[in-house]
């Protein structure tokens, strides 16, 4: 006989209580010296048998009462008894998908799939027996809001269904299924239902095998039911802006900002004459960009330009004409930070006799690739100093420092640069023959933690050999992702005759370099790191393995050198205002100097009123760093973080996962596997679930009530007999 409250079965051990009391009473006899023992003996012998029988009857009754109560508390279930007066509780865990794809119109009454899902959930909840406990959780990539712990308050469950909001989040149903199953599996009930309401979008079942395993486990205690909303194959046209990216390394005022826009046709028919409208800070920027025809299932990308009106954060949006079945993906917004003019300080470790012999010659020309007479108007300025002049230089005037073949620095200069980077500046380090490796490895890498890697031995050993070339493809780091496009040229043509091996420690513990932040930006053809990136405080460091001039490598005279240096410089600047664009659902993180700790900031989400802002505080992140983290990024669009003292407004944007726009449903083999662990039902209106939810047996009835009644009757009998037996005889 199944028990709903197994632990209470141990309560039957309480039958020992009457026995113990009985035995203890036997030790509590009042002693009386007695002379007339003769008559007492006769009386006792004559009544002995009757007294023993009465004692046994009362003892058995008391034990039976205790055992019945304990058994009733264990809530046994039996299908042998039935009746309306017997409890039969159902616990249902309802998971409702509210990811971006659920905003797709169903074509019925203007409803979205989420509307249909709410309707299905309401229908399911109303069909549960009275007294059922229900949990309702929304699901996207993480379990969302709702009532996770099953509640007996049906109105609360209904309200939770109504309050589920449409989000732009991507889908990963496993965490929500796991949470809902956990919530109901150990809940005492005669029947448990795990109901997952989703559109069955293939992309939402990223962890398909893990979900199958979880449902198999859940099936031992509950009945999984998957309710699919929306009819596959009947979705209408859907064009989506699947990518909007800034291609220009530095967003400078007056400079055209190159943007890449990608549009994908997720509809069943070819989209003709697709255009996309760019806007900057809400104002249309030029005419719509013509993308042309896009066959079903294909993407088209175009490059376009926008001009930024001033310094600071700007919202750039790419918008499709709209009117398709999923409006959420018709607009994509990014935030860029525009700067007026950026300055770089080049520290030259080998100035040479003439500028062309200078170690920083190629760096300077790459950063400011214009004739001297136009250099003043260019958005990047570069000053060259020797290491000895560094102590007298005000580093606050610069955005980044380039160390080129600098032998070593004084301790104060090293600390000066570390402070500069820690406060958000950028640093690029190029070795050369003058470099004192011990200084770099001990002071800058080990002690200060400023460099992400140590400088190892020089290689290759044969400097007259073919040397090293940079990787020809597979660029993972966003800084060099440009060269994944063959049209952008190649970095592999450069030949490096000599380099210092970059030794990345497996685990950083000293200094301010965040452990594990060292990333390889670029590799040589032998796989060894050519450029490594690391974070230090609020700033970023790029460490090169070869020289900035042509002494060790011919990269500086290659076409790729200029965009590479620009992207490094841009990477430094992006770091300063970095992390402005995150995927929906991912937290927005912004770091601040430590003096910002406990300062308040208001966050205004996309499309919400000013009065609906969220107050957050700058937290201490340890290691002298501070920052904010805002995780409630359910909606795509721009968000504003408003700081006071000093007043500052930071904008950031969130973008929907393009996979959410893809209506590709679960394949038939996948559905078949799901059917092996769950009932799969398509919602076709009220009553469509009755066939599944109504046909199963009730799972039995709880029989605690009759047990308690019997225990009560036995208690009355015991009372009566105890009174009767204790009469004078």
């Amino acid at each position: 006989m199944p028990l709903l409250n197994t632990i209470m079965i141990w309560g039957t051990a309480a039958v020992a209580i009457p026995i113990i009391i009985h035995l203890m009473n036997r030790r509590r006899f009042r002693k009386v010296p007695w002379a007339a023992i003769r008559f007492l003996k006769i009386s006792v012998e004559r009544n002995q048998r009757r007294m023993k029988i009465e004692e046994w009857i009362l003892l058995l009754l008391r034990c039976a009462i205790v055992a019945l109560i304990a058994f009733a508390l264990a809530r046994p279930v039996s299908d042998l008894i039935s009746g309306r007066w017997l409890a039969s509780q159902t616990v249902a865990g309802v998971v409702i998908d509210h990811s971006g794809s659920m905003a797709t119109a169903t074509g019925v009454g203007g409803k979205t799939k989420l509307d249909t899902a709410r309707e299905a959930a309401t229908g399911i909840l109303s069909g549960l027996p009275n007294g059922s406990a229900t949990s309702v959780v929304s699901a996207a990539d993480t379990p969302g809001e709702g009532v996770l712990e099953p509640t007996l308050d049906s109105s609360r469950a209904d309200r939770a269904v109504e309050e589920i909001r449409q989000t732009y989040r991507t889908t990963d149903l496993l965490p929500a299924i796991d949470g809902a199953a956990d919530a109901i599996e150990n809940r005492a009930a005669t029947r448990r239902e795990l109901i997952i309401i989703t559109d069955g979008q293939s992309a939402g079942w990223k962890q398909f095998d893990a979900i199958i395993r979880r449902l198999e486990t859940a099936k031992t205690k509950a009945r999984p039911v998957i309710v699919l909303v929306g009819e596959p194959g009947v979705e209408g046209d859907n064009l989506a802006v699947t990518r909007l990216a800034q291609n220009t390394p530095v967003a400078a005022i007056g400079q055209p900002l190159r943007l890449s826009v990608e549009v994908t046709n997720f509809g069943p028919l070819e989209a003709d004459n697709v255009t996309v409208q760019l806007s900057v800070d809400g104002a249309e920027a030029g005419e719509p960009v013509d993308i042309g025809d896009i066959p079903p299932g294909e993407s088209r990308a175009v490059t376009t330009f926008a001009a930024l009106p001033g310094e600071g954060h700007h919202r750039i949006a790419a918008t499709l004409p709209g009117g398709d079945s999923l409006p959420l993906d018709d607009t994509r917004v990014i935030v860029v930070r525009a700067v007026k003019r950026s300055r770089a300080l080049l520290v030259d470790g080998e100035p040479g006799r003439v500028p062309s012999e200078s170690e920083t010659f190629f760096l300077h020309n790459a950063l400011v690739p214009v004739p001297p007479d136009r250099a003043e108007d260019f958005y990047i300025a570069a000053d060259v100093v020797t290491p000895s002049a560094l102590p007298g230089t005000d580093l606050d005037d610069y955005d980044a420092i380039f160390l080129a073949n600098v032998s070593e620095l004084t301790r104060s200069s090293a600390q000066q640069i570390a402070d500069f980077v820690g406060a958000g500046g950028g640093l690029a380090v190029f070795p050369g023959k003058n470099v004192n490796r011990s200084f770099y490895n001990v002071e800058l890498h080990s002690e200060l933690g400023l460099l992400p890697a140590g400088f190892g031995d020089a290689y290759p050993e044969d400097s007259n050999g073919p040397g090293l070339t940079l990787q020809a493809g597979g660029y993972d780091h966003p800084l060099v992702a440009l060269w994944n496009d063959p049209g952008a040229g190649t970095l592999a043509s450069a030949r490096t005759r000599r380099a210092l091996r970059l030794e990345i420690p497996k685990s950083e513990t000293g200094g301010q370099t965040a452990p594990g932040t060292a990333k390889v930006v670029l590799r040589y053809n032998d796989g060894s790191p050519a450029v490594v990136e690391g974070e230090f405080g609020l700033g970023r460091v790029f460490q090169f393995s070869s020289s900035a001039d042509t002494e060790w490598t011919d990269l500086p005279v290659r076409l790729g050198f200029l965009p590479l240096i620009h992207r490094v410089f841009g990477g430094v600047l992006q770091r300063k205002g970095g992390g402005l664009n995150v995927q929906v659902g991912s937290p927005f993180v912004r770091r601040f100097p430590s003096e910002f700790i406990q300062r308040e900031a208001m966050v205004y989400a996309a499309g919400t009123a000013v009065s609906e802002g969220t107050l957050i505080k700058v937290q201490d992140l340890g290691g002298g760093a501070a920052g904010i983290e805002y995780a409630n990024t359910d909606l795509a669009g721009t968000y504003e973080v408003s700081l006071t003292d000093p007043p500052e407004v930071i904008s950031f944007a969130t973008q929907m996962d393009p996979a959410e726009s893809d209506p590709e449903p679960l394949s038939e083999p996948q559905l078949e596997r799901l059917r092996s662990v769950a009932d799969v039902v398509r919602w076709e209106g009220p009553g469509s679930l009755a066939a599944v939810l109504g046909n199963e047996g009730s799972g039995g009835s709880e029989i605690w009530l009759p047990l308690i009644v019997i225990a009560g009757l036995l208690a009355l009998l015991e009372l009566f007999l105890a009174q009767r037996f204790s009469r004078v005889k």
Binding site: W34, A35, I37, F39, S43, S726, V728, K729
Partner: protein
């Protein structure tokens, strides 16, 4: 007690004292016929002592007499001692003799009969100095007394009589055969009569008897029936032997118990 009892030596003069003239109502059996024959005058003989009454008081000094119930102020033995002291005083006060015997399994102490004035003090001294210790064997003691005591008298047995009643009656009959008048004074505590116990009680047997754990309410009726039957059998046994049997409750005042019996005796002559 003067004039309240009948002497066992009725009709026998003990010691002649003087003559006096007959007056109507005098018992003609006491006329001096010789003087009548010689002088034709009616004279009545007068004697020094009307009877030679002897009271043999036997007190049960076994451990069972130590019982003192919840409602009693004294134990059964103390009560029995008081009864014996009172009776001794009354007997000696009318110049009769008293002997005192204390017993348990056997005779423990014996004070020979005497009508001397200091006999009362000896009786009291014996009673106060006695401490019970053994079990009881009343029938044996009764037989022993019947054999020992030569001068007939009244044998007063003060005991709880917790012994085999048929054996006790045999002992009584032996005393009767020896010519004694026998009076049985059964001293019981009120607890032994009413059995008022409740709850769980372990009764510890006095006189080395076994213990019993029981719920008294469960056996009360049976006990009372047994106890009443026992007393009834004793009473009827005494009556068959033409003896008196009186039960005394130690929770009742002594004068009530003794007064009742003495009134009864006066009325029955």
């Amino acid at each position: 007690m003067a004039g309240d009892h009948k002497s066992p030596y009725r009709g026998f003069a003990i010691e002649f004292a003087q003559h006096r003239e007959y007056s109507p109502g005098d018992d003609v059996r006491h006329l001096d016929w010789k003087v009548l024959g010689r002088t034709e005058r009616y004279y009545i003989k007068q004697y020094e002592q009307e009877t030679n009454y002897i009271a043999h008081i036997l007190i049960d000094g076994s451990e069972s007499m130590l019982y003192k119930g919840s409602s009693a102020e004294i134990s059964k033995l103390e009560y029995a001692k008081s009864v014996a002291a009172c009776l001794s005083y009354l007997v000696l006060h009318q110049r009769d003799s008293v002997s005192l015997t204390l017993f348990d399994e056997d005779i423990r102490q014996h004070l020979p009969r005497s009508d001397a004035r200091n006999q009362l003090f000896r009786v009291l001294e014996t009673l106060t100095g006695f401490e019970p210790e053994g079990e009881t064997a009343l029938p044996h003691v009764l037989h022993e007394m019947a054999r020992r005591v030569q001068r007939k008298g009244i044998v007063i047995i003060i005991s709880d009589f917790f012994d085999e009643e048929s054996d006790v009656i045999e002992g009584i009959q032996h005393l009767r055969f020896a010519g004694h008048e026998v009076l049985g004074l059964q001293v019981l505590d009120n607890d032994e009569i009413e059995f008022p116990f409740t709850g769980l009680v372990e009764f510890e047997g006095l006189e080395n008897l076994e213990n019993f754990k029981t719920r008294p309410s469960e056996i009360k009726k049976t006990y009372l029936t047994e106890m009443e039957g026992f007393r009834e059998r004793l009473r009827s046994g005494f009556e068959r032997s033409e003896c008196h049997f009186v039960t005394m409750d130690t929770s009742k005042p002594l004068d009530d118990a003794l007064g009742g019996y003495l009134t009864f005796r006066k009325e029955t002559g």
